[in-house]
Subunit: 396 residues, 4 copies
Amino acid sequence: MHRPGRHFLQIPGPTNVPDRVLRAIDMPTIDHRGPAFADMSRKALDGVKGIFKTRQPVIIFPSSGTGAWEAALVNTLSPGDRVLMYETGHFASLWNALAQRIGLQPEVIASDWRSGVDPEKIEERLKADKAHEIKAVCVVHNETSTGCRSPIDEVRKAIDSAGHPSLLMVDTISSLGSMDYRHDEWGVDVTVGGSQKGLLLPPGLSFNAISDKAIAASKSASLTRSYWSWDEMVSANETSLFPYTPATNLLYGLVAAIEMLNEEGLENVFSRHERHAAATRAAVKAWGLEVFCNNPKHYSASLTAVLMPEGHSADEFRRKVLENFNMSLGNGLSRLSNKVFRIGHLGDFNDLMLMGTLSGVELGLRKAGVPHRTGGTLAAIDVLAGDGGGTAIAAE
Amino acid sequence: MHRPGRHFLQIPGPTNVPDRVLRAIDMPTIDHRGPAFADMSRKALDGVKGIFKTRQPVIIFPSSGTGAWEAALVNTLSPGDRVLMYETGHFASLWNALAQRIGLQPEVIASDWRSGVDPEKIEERLKADKAHEIKAVCVVHNETSTGCRSPIDEVRKAIDSAGHPSLLMVDTISSLGSMDYRHDEWGVDVTVGGSQKGLLLPPGLSFNAISDKAIAASKSASLTRSYWSWDEMVSANETSLFPYTPATNLLYGLVAAIEMLNEEGLENVFSRHERHAAATRAAVKAWGLEVFCNNPKHYSASLTAVLMPEGHSADEFRRKVLENFNMSLGNGLSRLSNKVFRIGHLGDFNDLMLMGTLSGVELGLRKAGVPHRTGGTLAAIDVLAGDGGGTAIAAE
Amino acid sequence: MHRPGRHFLQIPGPTNVPDRVLRAIDMPTIDHRGPAFADMSRKALDGVKGIFKTRQPVIIFPSSGTGAWEAALVNTLSPGDRVLMYETGHFASLWNALAQRIGLQPEVIASDWRSGVDPEKIEERLKADKAHEIKAVCVVHNETSTGCRSPIDEVRKAIDSAGHPSLLMVDTISSLGSMDYRHDEWGVDVTVGGSQKGLLLPPGLSFNAISDKAIAASKSASLTRSYWSWDEMVSANETSLFPYTPATNLLYGLVAAIEMLNEEGLENVFSRHERHAAATRAAVKAWGLEVFCNNPKHYSASLTAVLMPEGHSADEFRRKVLENFNMSLGNGLSRLSNKVFRIGHLGDFNDLMLMGTLSGVELGLRKAGVPHRTGGTLAAIDVLAGDGGGTAIAAE
Amino acid sequence: MHRPGRHFLQIPGPTNVPDRVLRAIDMPTIDHRGPAFADMSRKALDGVKGIFKTRQPVIIFPSSGTGAWEAALVNTLSPGDRVLMYETGHFASLWNALAQRIGLQPEVIASDWRSGVDPEKIEERLKADKAHEIKAVCVVHNETSTGCRSPIDEVRKAIDSAGHPSLLMVDTISSLGSMDYRHDEWGVDVTVGGSQKGLLLPPGLSFNAISDKAIAASKSASLTRSYWSWDEMVSANETSLFPYTPATNLLYGLVAAIEMLNEEGLENVFSRHERHAAATRAAVKAWGLEVFCNNPKHYSASLTAVLMPEGHSADEFRRKVLENFNMSLGNGLSRLSNKVFRIGHLGDFNDLMLMGTLSGVELGLRKAGVPHRTGGTLAAIDVLAGDGGGTAIAAE
């Protein structure tokens, strides 16, 4: 049964994959040991470094982002190692659960999920760790479940101020290619990424950007690893090959996506996301609703989670939006289940797609009988117009 | 240079071709004389009848819609024949020019372009034609240059009331598959259609739906014709073949498009277009601008032409919209050049795409410094919500 | 019902469209009056000149090749004009029929269809035409129904030797992009082309390359024309636009196809076709069958028509090949119906595709019980190996 | 730089992905938690069972086949567990190395790689294992490095005859969807599969078909696992969802591929592969070369490895084939490096593609100066014709 027009995929990832990437993926698979493959994979392996802003190797796994979380840990740590995790939200929790599952001893700094990481708490904890038992600090750059961003550069400074040798691992799954991120400059040891958000691809590739220190750690790390092992990857990648069959067609898409991000210019990509996030928050405020993230310095640029008014079901609202307006919004996860909805405004996106999205939210609020003030969309237009809102309003 | 997000192609055709149609077109070309082709072309030839609401043959030309205009005339008329044309706008004028060029004597009922056909004027003229020198009445169902719709059923009645034997030819290029149209029931003799608007396809196919009376006329018509000749087409089509190489890949797309229109249901397709047109007009009114069509009974459902305020350039406005908001709007044609812009809201389209479109217009008006009241988009939301606008507005 | 593997589309056109072209066609349709279109169409309009080897304008019609035949005549001639046509086969006959249909007086030089044009006969006829009543000489460069090629440069010389002012019109539908062709150097006035053969595209575009003399003729030519009219095309094309909606998506494909032909190099494209034709003829000879073209100087490089042994049905053979081996071969047309089959070896094609094709013929001959010697495929391998056949044969 | 015609991807996987699968993959990514996804993934999860011939759950990982090897082991075994592996070739060796790496104690039954598993050796070893220390027997159904097939049903019987409780794990990466395989009937506990061979997809999905016994084993197995864990997969799959983001677009392709295999009929698919393998071996024999597998009962149906004559480089031969004939052949792996080349004849493949492939081998042997007798291709045609070779040979 055909539904007219384009679906608005406004979950915070997977995002709306551009046609140019889909068409690239749609080309015939080639021999992953032949010269044409090597040419293509060289472009992918080199090009992706620019997106992470690193000169180090970036490992590309044929897997979901979840795999890259696991890879970050198993390559650098040993059974029983302590890791310091910061529970900024659902995905930070999942990473913590994974760490436990594979035999690490994660220690969690709790939070109310409504802001990003407080670097001072990390610094404090590390200072207390005189014996340097903590081997890694794990934080999520952009918490996809809450729309809060953490200041990674300040986390780095906190570790340094504490004089602590811990590795720094950062999940950038929903920030990479959408929000400013600098693997080398910010001194990150392992950056975890995925293909299906700001990187414009369907799901199926994940990434580890790594530092010399992380590579050094991998030499003595004794957690069991095979599929996720960096060493064979790094050495095979030197000749543009992979130790096992790569996801060739997604690599075609990766090459196309990198080209597109570079054509637009990464800094332009980032400012576009910031602008769309600001317009979205203006709409939320105008509707009389509440942005879930309550620390303005930590607002995400790639998604906005919105608190549903007491007594109203976020999931019922989302269902009505999907049925009536052919738009998918993100749901509330675990403790936020049915309490928030999330608007993804990341990836291959522009002003008018955002206005369609926000209009769908406003129409959905009406359809679902959620109390709100009209005009969120107009508030967003004011932000997008960027003209102060004054001059053009009066016709008479 | 990549521009992020999807382009909004909101000219009144070609329209946003759905992925399913593009992917169908993207399959390998096959032997146009083989059995697989015959199966496919049968579906196209039979299925397209349902779109025209006819049981008669529908001719499919590998050409632009302009070719189907020519085909309608050369198959049914002879050099020097009089035809009565009704100048509802630019495209009616072009059809008239074509008729002159190929040796007919068109007689034109003029108009101010701001409404559709007045059937009384046709009846009056035909009644005066005692000698039945007028061989055909040619009208445009939906004038793409103005956004005015003509009442074809009433034109038929006018011809009948006049007791005149003239053929009735109707251009449905921008109405077919978007607005209610009934070739058989309305007694049309030749209906002219194109692929690139409500029919969801790229340009490259055109159509003639024909009546028994038109076929009879073709037996004695003496205008020169070869490529456009119906007779070889009709007989070849009987065995699902074509007299010369057809545009095979566009036929794949036609089969897919017909399926999609039928899945949604033609009546649903029409009411969707009417609703989007109403929302668009509400926006225009709220902006304090003027819909070019000044006869509410003749409002088009597939596009809305908007008058630019005196002293402002419609083309400059459109240029700013394209540059800043990645949306193409239709320009004013011939006498309307630079005076109107046209919003296409037809084809594979939905509420949120419309809201993106109208937001783009509102943003563009601001960017171009065109005086207007804000809030056209909100007015459109009221129409789309369909809830009377009252209940959901108050949050406090 | 899925048939495994790729279909072998070995009719002499439409040909196997390469993925790169199909994917280009599969991109969203854009505004044919906007700047992105102008950029793209500029590439098409300029690039296609190189394929015709002309510096003059090349007109691109949204139509089948049949339309370009008509366009060549109606733009340059007047009712009752005499044209000299050379019946090299079925398609030359069809062009002749078209000429009659539109009011010209074609005069035909007959042939047994088994060779290309004999320029001497043209010279002789033109010399006899003292009054210069013949306004155009029309020949088919590569007769798709027979696999015979005509020497266009010699036809030009024949016209010049006769001191005759006639225009020269050449159909290159199945030679363009496959066999050496030089519009300017050979002094052709109108070259007729189509998209679906050596030009690697699906059907739906046709071409007229024109000379100054042809343009001059068009100023006084009085045959009725509208859709096919050059003048509006040429002037619109100067600003990269078209007078009516072009087949935008096929133009995307044209740009891709031109790039591909230039990447391979036109001369390499031509020698590849010559080599494949030689290998095919070697196979036919080895099977003990007869190539229909009986003048070795006129062998086509893009297809080979093969005479079926007396008492055997070519169509039954082709049917068995299609059913059993998933390959489409070309049928015999009009007087050759059921008597020949045609092997297309043109377009996006390579040695192993040719060997699959010839193997399919050999398997089909067996399956259909057509008497033949085995080993045609081996003879083709000898040609393709290009090593004289000697060295590698002996293993012991 | 464009190379004309289709590349012949005749490595033993990835295989030539059919257009219908590529186009399916090329559709926009959707919300992996929404109802449209659930409908689609239900088809994939249910449909894939038919391909494995099981009624049990089949786990679908977003990973390469290598991941599914790891998953089979980590879900069912504990550190230090003994597993009996049978080194049929390179890939069996890799599985063995993986088992060691993750902390198992594999015991290997060696072989000369030139045949499949000898079930008697397994029975013998298991009988000797009175203490039932061996927890799993791991065999490769079709060894991709050698072209030898192992009799899985006989391995099952061997285990049963030995009265041994060991699990049976089978790698079907290069046999699934190409060669008869029956997970349930043959009593396999874990079947390992991949997407990129007989399953017609690009690489990026892998599979574990599992038995009740395997599930039971997973309850007490203590090897570390997270990404590969079955339990969350099985429970999420019950509602058509996945515990982490799945490779959505490849799942679209999986649904299409399953439909295609079922349309052709799995038994027809298998007999097609057997027939092509027989034709390939006939060619190899006719060339005077040696099929690497020396046990006719163990010939693979999906690929044929060919021994290069002493003193000739298989890799140099393959390089010449790629450069001159645009075909990729498989290389010799580890101990077979440079000694064999492998012809993949699996996946979406047909008679004429096979003939193109074998012609490319014959042409390559000539080009590389490898001593051989001509006519391998003719021998293959004899097999494909299936007519005994007699009737059609004589023309005179």
